[in-house]
Amino acid sequence: MSMRVGDESGRARAESMDAGLLAPEVVPTIAAGQWQTALRRFRRHRVAMTALAFLVFMVLACYVGAHFAPSPTEQHLTEPPSGPSWSHWFGTDELSRDELSRVLHGGQVSLRVAFGVAILSTVLGVVIGALAGFYRGWLDELLMRFTDFWIALPALPILAVVVSIGTIDLGPLGTLDLGSPFGITLLLSLLLWGSIARVVRGATLSLREREFVDASRTIGASNTRIIVRHVLPNCFGLIAVNATLVVAEAILVETTLSFLGFGIQPPTPSWGNLLANSIDNLEDQWWLTVFPGLVIFLTVLAVNFLGDGLRDALDPRQPVRA
């Protein structure tokens, strides 16, 4: 499954790569001293640095700033909803709750889900991709068939249906509420690990042919050791870039699901369900739509810029000035 056009484009791209029409990607390998170079290149990338600063600010605001904002659940039912003002920077909603703090608390949930998804899907993707690329054979075939199948399913509707299952009983492991932030994190990770797996598989396939792998084998290193000590470190850059893309997608998918009512359920706030509340009041209380939406947009934008900065910093091919 895939939400964004990236996955299918990736597949079409992969096929046309085979057909020789597009240039194959070089696997950037990072030698020891090159981390410094990469770091330096990254720091020079002003847009990426700004994006990083913004994201740090965002995280701090949502977790630390939330302490200082008025309570998100405090209602003043006697007062009508009001627009942005000095006492309520983002205005108040129909129950006169402070919108800013609702956005910040929603941010805690949405960001937590997004980062959780990134970590989980990275772990899944790296393990499966590395195994498939290294051992090839039936494991690789299975993986490829599986990803082909996965892409054939319509993602958003399936996710919505799964979340609507509600709470499932895992026996000895307890119960899992699929609509909780943890549940959503799990589901999204299952959706999004594919791109990382594909990338790691590709890198492993080419890296296993390199001399240092043979060298390690001749001194008797085990396969696991080879994968962990030699193949994976050379993929770090690729993994990092893809992980940031996953964060961006996760935010978008989660907020979309929550917006539709098929994701994070109220009263747990999420940027998505904050916007859901605002549809009916679009005409009168525009601030309830604009501020949460803007926050989502800017955060995703920052993540995308960050990912680009990482990609540029780690690409050994020198970008050329016009």
């Binding site: 020789g20 029409l21 020198q318 970008p319 050329v320 000035r321």
Partner: protein, 324 residues
């Protein structure tokens, strides 16, 4: 033979601006091509020979730029020409054949159409049918059997040798006066190599072509060129008649090249030149070859050795040329 040179490259300098600095791919290269002459430009990868060829054709794309010198065809300076005028010269007065026949042909267009395009682009009055007929003739001329059927094939349906012939046909379509061949045989097997080179020679004889042969293969030079120009690190280090230079190479690099070629009888050892070519983004002090040179001395670091004429038409850029 003192006919006016057909093609002149005069102190050409080509630079590439990259993030790592400005790379001087070609630094002060001069050569000339007389009508009917075959000149081979020899050097390892990175010597600047292909860049020179591209500069002559006006095919340098940014970040590459001609930053000095001139290229003249019949005395007419080419670099200042706007692209829509330059293109009239390409494929008609000067033609070029590239190295890799697999990728040099458009995979989505039939071979005959690609050859016909070479004709119609320079003479729009030619009808499609006439261009198609001419394409068949050209394919026959370059030795492709069953040309009338082959014309409708796609590049992937032809062998490497046949594709190279097609490229040659395209280049010769408008009877150019200069043909630049960039490593025309590197991607081919030995038998096909010989065939293509013969084709080049016979075409030259038929059409009175001048040929600029860019290669790193000295065997090709020996059999198919009149003069040879040896390039290293973007400069010419030796030039002269092929017999002259092969019999008594005057530059240590040329000697190294000749010594590292396996001889036909299999005797003698392969002595490769130690070291690697210099990094052209750095400014070079003294002779660019001196780090690898067996004859290097203190004076080699003073300045870049100029190209000095040693015998009739035989020049070398080495301060110790006469002694070696």
């Amino acid at each position: 033979m003192s006919s006016a040179p057909l093609l002149e490259v005069d102190s050409l300098r080509v630079e590439f601006k990259t993030d790592a600095g400005t790379v001087r791919a070609v630094d002060g290269v001069s050569l000339s091509l007389a009508p009917g002459e075959r000149v081979a430009v020899v050097g390892e990868s990175g010597s600047g020979k292909t860049v020179t060829a591209l500069a002559v054709m006006g095919l340098l794309e940014p970040p590459g730029n001609i930053t000095g010198g001139d290229v003249r065809l019949d005395g007419r300076s080419l670099p200042p020409l706007p692209d829509n005028e330059y293109r009239r010269i390409r494929g008609r007065d000067i033609a070029m054949v590239f190295q890799d026949p697999m990728s040099a042909l458009n995979p989505a267009i039939r071979v005959g159409a690609q050859v016909a395009e070479a004709i119609t682009v320079h003479d729009p009055s030619v009808s499609r049918a006439a261009a198609r007929r001419r394409a068949v003739e050209l394919l026959e001329r370059v030795g492709i059997a069953a040309a009338a059927q082959r014309v409708r094939d796609y590049p992937h349906q032809l062998s490497g040798g046949m594709r190279q012939r097609v490229l040659l046909a395209m280049a010769l379509a408008n009877s150019p006066r200069v043909l630049i061949a960039d490593e025309p045989t590197t991607a081919l097997d030995v038998t096909t190599q010989a065939q293509i080179l013969e084709l080049l020679d016979s075409s030259r004889a038929d059409l009175g072509l001048s040929v600029l042969l860019v290669t790193h293969d000295l065997g090709v030079v020996a059999g198919h060129a009149d003069r040879v120009v040896v390039m290293y690190a973007g400069r010419i280090v030796e030039e002269g008649g092929v017999q002259q230079v092969f019999a008594s190479p005057r530059h240590p690099y040329t000697r190294g090249l000749l010594a590292s070629v396996p001889t036909a009888n299999g005797r003698g050892s392969l002595t490769p030149i130690p070291g690697a070519p210099p990094d052209l983004s750095q400014v070079l002090v003294g002779c660019p070859f001196h780090p690898r040179c067996a004859f290097a001395e203190a004076q080699c670091l003073d300045a870049v050795p100029p190209l000095v004429e040693l015998a009739d038409g035989h020049c070398a850029a080495c301060v110790r040329a006469r002694e070696i």
